[in-house]
């Protein structure tokens, strides 16, 4: 019974969105976009879809998808291309489209996936701000901004975008994977793997809630020893990353490539000491 329900839960996820084929532009140049900061603390940008528009959309770094309302989908002649329509059109959902030319201000991204729907929160925003700014018709999310090195500055109300060639995987496919992997009897814990060989052993007791982890052993002649680490030191950060548990420390070392010096801050005799350790190639 449980299994059946789990399967049912997964069924609607069986069809995936088409993966957006993000391409970087030939010459990375930085472009600036002005945004409108509205009284609720959100900000609005001007968007064109395949040259149609402009439309007002909320810019949301917390949105893994991009949304457009049925109104502008129709206006930009995208509604007919919608794929993967839901059986029950809750919130006016009309499916998924790939927008060939998606521009925020003058910044153009190609083949940006977007969902067509009437998001209740977007609707509430639109009603609030319609008089001053015109209607608000969606959310610009990750599929757009991931393609750029981006800055957001509220003091100048400006964003900058420089194409960075980053290829974002599709959030629906990733979700599928997460759910499939949790389909077995027990989801497996993650493993944090150091990128290099440090020559040390760490410890932390269960009831120890203070910052940092203890150095239980330092292997003579290895990287940690060469960098001045001592048994009994309390490691507070590695490469600016908190090391408040053994798992945290391992995660921090997963970013530390062999041969590259890393800043390590330890507490020794009540004082903070900054060390530099260069992990070696090994494991």
């Amino acid at each position: 019974m449980k299994k059946l329900l789990a399967t049912l839960l997964l069924l609607p996820l069986g069809v995936c969105f088409v993966r957006a084929d993000e391409k970087s532009l030939e010459k990375p140049k930085t472009q600036t976009v002005k945004f409108e900061l509205v009284p609720s603390g959100h900000f609005i940008v001007s968007v064109k879809l395949n040259g149609n528009g402009p439309y007002n959309l909320i810019f949301d770094t917390g949105a893994p998808t991009t949304l457009i309302t049925p109104r502008i989908a129709k206006d930009a002649k995208l509604a007919g291309d919608a794929k993967d329509k839901p059986l029950i059109p809750l919130f006016g959902m009309m499916g998924q489209v790939k927008v060939k030319e998606f521009s925020v201000g003058d910044v153009l991204a190609k083949d940006v996936g977007a969902m067509i729907m009437e998001h209740p929160t977007v609707k509430a925003f639109s009603q609030e701000y319609e008089k001053k700014y015109g209607s608000i018709d969606g959310i610009v999310g990750f599929p757009f901004f991931a393609q750029f090195k981006m800055t957001v500055d509220y003091s100048t109300k400006e964003m900058t975008f420089t194409p960075n060639g980053y290829k974002a995987s599709d959030v629906m496919q990733d979700l599928m994977q997460t759910m499939m992997s949790s389909m077995g009897s027990k989801p497996q814990p993650r493993v944090a793997a150091p990128a290099g060989l440090w020559g040390m052993e760490l410890a932390k007791s269960k009831d120890d809630e203070a910052d940092g982890v203890d150095v239980k052993a330092v292997i003579a002649g290895m990287s940690s020893d060469a960098g001045g680490l001592k048994t009994g030191d309390r490691i507070l950060t590695i490469d600016g990353r908190w090391t408040d548990s053994i798992a945290d420390a391992y995660t921090a070392t997963s970013y530390a490539k062999p041969g590259k010096p890393v800043a390590v801050v330890v507490k020794r005799d009540g004082k903070e000491v900054k060390l530099t350790i260069t992990p070696k190639l090994g494991l």
Binding site: H119, N164, M172, L197, G199, M222, G240
Partner: protein, 281 residues
């Protein structure tokens, strides 16, 4: 259903309670803030509130303020007045610290839904919204492992409250509960545990497509398994290797206490050995 799931991922929040905001004079330093992209493509940073944590937060320009679960707000302690909870200190991983931050303690349906299924791959405790983000110029580049935060001199006006006619998020709240119930029915239990990878105790060197053992640490799992300096590692877990990266990849998901089969060449001889992975790095 997947659309509902997706909806549950969008960090868009109408409004916090009303009150004013005090500012600290900004310093012109740039902080490197470590982040990770969650499985749900959220930008995840770690914070400590009142010295407690670390907690997992999402960077969310679609949220008007700092939001955290009620459990976290209670755990760290804070003064709640007029809908806002004021804390002594908010530390953001990477060395950044904000005095007297104000936030809203509420169980966001998005986080509730994601956590019940473990969708993000990490347990999420809150979001960093406008009243925190507006104090910084933030640079995002997903080819890098850190964000750049530079304090700016901006007196962020207090976020205005928008009222939805239904008083909530237009019916979206049910998604959190729905996913919670479904994951319970489906027996999906998230597992947020992280285990340290096992230790071998060998320094390696790559030479013309060969992976050579440079050092074997005395008493290490490699030593106990009989690995010697000069051995050429040819395969791990039955897969042939051409670089150190291949070996690291093969061992990446093996925690302490598991074992690894290696095939090595010593002179003209081929040897198979099993390394029992130990503690250390």
């Amino acid at each position: 259903m997947k659309y509902l799931l997706l909806l549950g991922l969008i960090g868009l929040v109408l409004s916090p309670a009303k009150a004013e905001e005090k500012k600290d004079p900004p310093k012109a330093t740039t902080y490197d803030v470590p982040y990770r992209l969650t499985d749900t493509k959220h930008i995840h940073v770690r914070v400590k509130i009142n010295g407690k944590g670390p907690f997992n937060f999402i960077i969310d320009t679609g949220a008007p303020a700092l939001f955290m679960t009620e459990a976290i707000a209670k755990k760290v302690g804070g003064k709640t007045e007029d809908g806002w909870t004021t804390f002594d200190k908010l530390d953001i991983e990477g060395g950044l610290s904000i005095d007297k931050p104000r936030g809203v303690a509420v169980d966001m349906f998005q986080l509730k839904g994601m956590n019940s299924m473990g969708l993000a791959g990490v347990e999420l405790h809150g979001v960093l919204g406008y009243n925190v983000l507006a104090r910084f110029k933030i640079e995002y580049d997903f080819n890098e492992t850190k964000l750049k935060w530079t304090p700016v001199d901006f007196k962020a006006p207090d976020p205005m409250r928008i009222k939805d006619k239904n008083g909530g998020q237009g019916g979206l709240e049910m998604i959190g509960t729905l996913t919670q119930v479904m994951s319970m029915l489906g027996g999906l239990k998230p597992n947020f545990t992280v285990h340290p990878r096992g230790f071998i105790g060998a320094e390696l060197e790559s030479k013309s497509n060969e992976l050579i053992v440079k050092t074997v640490l005395a008493g290490s799992p490699a030593d106990k398994a009989g690995l010697k300096v000069g051995d050429r590692i040819e395969s791990a877990k039955g897969k042939s290797l051409s670089s150190s990266q291949d070996l690291l990849e093969a061992v990446k998901k093996l925690p302490e206490g598991t074992s690894l089969k290696l095939s090595i060449k010593r002179g003209e001889d081929t040897k198979d050995m099993t390394v029992e992975l130990g503690k250390g790095l």
